[in-house]
Symmetry: C4
Subunit: 230 residues, 4 copies
């Protein structure tokens, strides 16, 4: 992918998170990777969204070695890098403090699959990470945030459940493309809102059956998908 | 009814569900039937709403035999067909994942008639369907979803309570016309939101009296209706 | 007051309830009275808000004797008349199904004065009416709805607490002018929303002290009011 | 600072509170101080926001001695003055009745630091003031409201936790500049909303660790801040 295209797509994804109400103030950041060149583009730190152009996007490689840039990258860069290094198929990552996903992260409440809205996009429970240790917080906080997300997906395919709730913080969401990562971030917020309300009126609500979860997830994903026009 | 009129009306109903905030992403679909010709028009599968025109609407008969179409129909077509076959007076069907109706479906919580807002449009409890069996999910999921809705209305007039909550999924709503189905879908969401909040602050809240339910429903429906200018 | 002015003001108040999100579909109605002539103007029944003009407003006297009108009045007319007859200083009445005021009416939960937002506009508890009897519902439902509101204010000044929650139905709100009735309807909805949430997280929350209630209510109302520029 | 600049900034901050949905009707007021001249500009009392210009802003000194003004100041002026006198580094103060901050104030529920959204802007618990005594309410209500806020910060740096919830009333928020006070008022409302929902689904939720609170607060504040482009 052309680097200018990547930067334009990353800009668009960042603006989409604001337009969809997932990001307030300057909370949140989106990045994308071109797996061929190994280059990543990410939002700059603390630049107001209304002033942001593709040229503000910061480019670096998988080890965070910066290319020529006008700006400093998002303060969450090291978390993005840890996820790109660990999760092969991921092409884009979005971090937000969207209201209900953050509420569930603050409550340390994994989001179980309570309905087909969830199952259409997330194949199983959306996990909450463990707490960071005091040492991790002090010495390598941002990178360790990536590590505990990776830990939470041990033995699982991160593209089947493309989101994690960082305990006491908020969601990180991903996808194979920037478009799918934005969509997953929107759906996560709606799924989190529905889960919060479902569990408040019905605290013992249980997940829908594995059969129903599979039926919905697999009609939209994988080689036997039937949804859409292709 | 002219087929072009039907397709235009179905397009408008689909767009109305988005405009009224009942549908996010591509969740949701509306269809209409011309009872004289027996032809149904329904939204195509997975086409973005902003690109949709009347020509995208997919036409078929009551057994799903497709007419000449450019697109594949909504993946929920078989549910719509089951309802049109079982419910004579129904002229239009809408499926959404609107937030509070879906929450009540996830909580498997029927919506009792807690107030006159409910009673003006729904004459009694809005039911939740039974769970599908593993066999139903695997072999004929979409049609079986229609069957369990029909089951939930055994002995009841589906036009008096023009909505059902599919357990763990979301609402299906109907009406004699596309306009009334859209209105019913909007009112259902508001009624579900009010019910959720009423029952959370007052878990033992009970339905309004049958007299009051009748008074409100019948002033707007049936031959003795007094509401409006006609 | 000129009758054309009254009708224009009543139209504006009806449109304001929609603009402020207090009314969905055609739920709701506003009326005003010219106490000098004894004439009332009220919204017509079931006319879509987007088509409404001042000429649609229906005029009658305090006994409901209709003047020359193009349309039938709101189906809630008799409730408005009962309130105008019983409450001398009331110049305008608004009925809505605004979300949280209706939720509290469905929960049959009076709104106690939990904060100064309440106290600035409502001097004490906003009452819930008693249930109507089966006979009242069958024989004179709409007028009886007015009667139970009047009952709930026995021994109280209705202008000091310009709203009531009709059990299982929704709010009626009033004021000395159409402008103040619209404002009271907006504040009621916000106060109801805050009360619902306060009581859900803190079920034993109690009213603010009478001193504090008086301090806030009286700085905005009565002869010793100090608020504003006059 | 030029007095005209101060008045323009104060006007903008007042309008921003409306634009961000923190203020309904005429609830709320913003003021700013020029510490060099000791002059304060504050919103006038009861003037509709849509008519407000910089010339409506009311100017006085720290003891409330009025300069030449066209209007009467906000009825909350004495609270602002008490805070400016007690809190040296404060350059701007905003009072709103924003929904969730007011709900927590009505519930008398301090907002503990449940997540990094809170910790990025508020270094510790946002306190609730004690109740005013009947004497304070009757004799010097507005100034006493300022005093109980000051009391709640005894031994704490008010710029580290730039907000207080006045019991049974609502939030007062501040900052070193008008821009930061507006941002703090927005973040407070979001943090209060998240806290309400976190505690409702998880009543025993506890604060994030002091290490994590420090990590987030100090990356945005103080001499070692690393956030942004400077």
């Amino acid at each position: 992918m052309n680097l200018d295209t990547l930067k334009a797509n990353v800009l668009n994804a960042n603006l989409a998170t604001v337009r969809h109400g997932l990001v307030k103030a300057t909370f949140g950041n989106a990045s994308g990777i071109d797996r061929e060149s190994g280059l990543i583009a990410i939002k700059p730190s603390g630049v107001p969204y209304e002033d942001m152009t593709a040229d503000h996007m910061v480019v670096c490689d998988l080890d965070g070695r910066s290319q020529t840039n006008l700006y400093r990258p998002s303060s969450d860069l090291e978390t993005h890098l840890a996820l790109y290094r660990a999760f092969d198929g991921v092409g884009a990552i979005i971090h937000t403090h969207s209201t209900f996903a953050t509420i569930m992260a603050q409550a340390r409440h994994p989001i179980i699959s309570l309905g087909t809205t969830h199952a259409d996009y997330f194949h199983g429970t959306i996990p909450v990470t463990r707490n960071l240790t005091p040492e991790e917080i002090k010495s390598r906080y941002v990178a360790a945030t990536g590590d505990v997300i990776v830990e939470a997906f041990e033995g699982r395919d991160p593209l089947e459940v493309p989101a994690a709730l960082v305990a006491g913080h908020g969601p990180f969401v991903w996808g194979d493309t920037l478009e799918s990562a934005v969509l997953n971030a929107m759906i996560l917020e709606e799924v989190a809102k529905m889960a919060w309300h479902t569990l408040t009126i019905s605290p013992s609500a249980s997940p829908i059956s594995q059969d129903l979860q599979d039926r919905h997830y697999l009609r939209k994903h994988g080689e036997n998908a039937t949804y859409g026009q292709n």
